[in-house]
């Protein structure tokens, strides 16, 4: 055993840059779902629930400005499928994929008010607007595209199986 050195605790050290590995698709999944939920409710109430005008006589009067005035037509009040909406709106974020849901201990828990107010911090997309789309030839990780040995099995993350030498995840570099 090397006895030339002793463990010395460091205190009060600040690295001086942000914590919080940002995983696109994960961090934004929850705010997007929430946003679509809000939009869905607004659409439901504004689009249908508030368009019927009823006089005090109890006789319904048609609203020329709104086709929903025809109460003989049953409005389509079905709740929009959130996953469908999200998938169509932003295919980059596979919100119907469980893996895309952020892990509480891995991802900054977003403050929805801040998110809706456009105050997502840190937003490194904004910090690097000129970045070209990913060229997988350039990317060291050959596994950026899943390549499970078995064609019908999803490639897993090996976050929990690293050795003691390097950082986690093994979307392997080449």
């Amino acid at each position: 055993m090397n006895t030339n050195f002793q463990v010395r605790k460091v205190t009060g050290y600040d690295p001086g840059y942000p914590v919080g590995r940002r995983r696109p698709g994960r961090l934004e999944a929850r705010p997007l779902k929430f946003l679509f939920l809000v939009v869905g409710f607004l659409f439901f109430f504004v689009g249908f629930g508030c368009t019927n005008k009823v006089e005090t006589t109890g006789v319904q009067v048609a609203d020329d400005d709104n086709i929903a005035a025809d109460t003989t037509v049953t409005p389509d009040t079905a709740q929009p499928d959130m996953d469908d909406l999200q998938g169509v709106t932003d295919p980059d974020f596979p919100l119907d994929d469980d893996a895309a849901i952020p892990d509480a201990d891995e991802v900054l828990v977003p403050d929805y008010d801040d998110q809706l107010a456009g105050e997502l911090v840190p937003d490194f997309d904004e910090a690097q607007p000129d970045i070209a789309p990913v060229d997988y030839d350039d990317v060291l990780t050959g596994d950026a595209i899943p390549d499970a040995l078995l064609p019908d099995i999803e490639t897993p993350d090996y976050d929990d199986q690293l050795s003691g030498v390097v950082a986690p995840d093994d979307d392997y570099l080449k």
Partner: protein
């Protein structure tokens, strides 16, 4: 679950820092290897993912066994619905075009031991007859790098080669073109103040190189573990015991006789580690022992509590701790001294590159575009 198979203790090289006890004819019988593969796959059914790493010695001495185990494991994994990843740690001296084709076909991750410039490689990694191994290792390297899907070069930095770290890094990454390089300090060696000062000088030079490379080669993503791993540790919020070497639960090493150990350094020194045997491929795991080892590993590191760098430095490797201090949870002082020196340098790089909005850095650390290869 991850199983590491000691296919042989025989090796073509006689590395000065190797922790594996060598026995010339100590090979893992094919029956043991197959049972080890079965064991890890059967234990991975619920998790649906498994990894088998071939280790040694030089595992390509047993290329026939490696092929047979791979074919068997692939079939069994498919039958069980388990995604299988394969990994080999090699010194590269036995690599041939045939082996490269096989590696490519099977999509093995290759962890190539390469200390850097010829002087460093030949000094610490000679053949058994004493002559240097550099030429043999790089002979097929361009083809290997071209065809292998995943390749990482791993260097061991000893007091004798510390002064060559800068040159070796540039040689491996700039000259040989390997973009994932993991230098590992040999904490079992007798370092002194002068040796660590030499390392610090090398780190400072490498920091300038890292900045320059990040600034000038904006499409050339690279991973240099000395800095990137420490930066990643902070960005992730720090690591905890069990995050990596989850011994007793998610990783085990099988010695050539079938005994199961927590990890490679234990299996590499089976007599010293006799008290850590977690089972045998014939009889399965001794669960009580597994739980005992896992619980021990998950304890806070005894001499690190309260340190601002806890979670940033590599105190979590129970194998290294055990090998250097005799306790899985006691960190060697030389590791602390080196990491305390290195981490502030890495953090300075991070601050500078973030301030510059450096695209390579941001893509590497704040997007999931570059990730390291985990090594055994």
């Amino acid at each position: 679950m991850h199983a590491i198979l000691f296919l042989t203790r025989q090796c073509t090289l006689k590395c000065s820092y190797c922790y594996v006890e060598k026995h010339e004819k100590s090979h893992m019988p094919i029956e043991v290897a197959l049972k080890a593969a079965d064991l890890v796959l059967e234990k991975s059914v619920e998790e649906k993912k498994a990894r088998i790493s071939f280790f040694g010695g030089e595992p390509f001495i047993r290329f026939d066994v490696m092929r047979e185990v791979t074919d068997h494991a692939e079939k069994k994994a498919k039958k069980l619905g388990v995604a299988l990843k394969l990994h080999v740690a090699t010194n590269g001296t036995l690599i041939t075009p045939e082996i490269i084709d096989w590696i490519a076909k099977k999509k093995l991750t290759v962890e190539l031991s390469l200390d850097g410039v010829p002087a460093a490689q030949d000094a610490n990694r000679p053949f058994n007859d004493g002559h240097g191994s550099y030429a043999a290792v790089v002979k097929h390297l361009p083809t290997l790098y071209k065809k292998a899907k995943h390749l990482v070069a791993v260097a061991v930095v000893s007091p004798a080669t510390a002064h060559r770290l800068y040159d070796s890094t540039l040689h491996v990454m700039d000259d040989l073109g390997i973009r994932n390089f993991v230098p590992v300090v040999d904490y079992t060696a007798q370092w002194d103040e002068a040796g660590l000062y030499t390392l610090k000088e090398q780190y400072e030079k490498l920091a300038e190189w890292y900045l320059e490379r990040s600034r000038t080669r904006k499409k050339d993503l690279f991973y240099y573990s000395l800095f990137d791993a420490h930066i990643a540790a902070h960005i992730k919020g720090g690591f905890r015991p069990g995050d990596f070497c989850d011994v007793g639960r998610n990783i085990f090493a099988v010695a050539e006789d079938g005994r199961i150990f927590p990890c490679v350094r234990f299996a590499g020194k089976p007599e010293r580690a006799a008290g850590f045997v977690m089972g045998h491929v014939d009889t399965g795991f001794i669960m009580k022992k597994c739980h005992e080892i896992a619980a021990e590993n998950l304890k806070p590191r005894t001499n690190c509590q309260g340190c601002s760098l806890d979670g940033r430095c590599f105190t979590y490797c129970p194998c290294l701790n055990w090998d250097t201090t005799g306790e899985m949870t006691t960190v060697p002082g030389v590791l602390c001294a080196n990491e305390s020196m290195l981490i502030p340098i890495a953090d300075r790089l991070a601050r500078e590159l973030i301030a510059e909005k450096n695209p390579v850095f941001l893509r590497k650390h704040y997007k999931k575009e570059i990730e390291p290869i985990d090594i055994v």
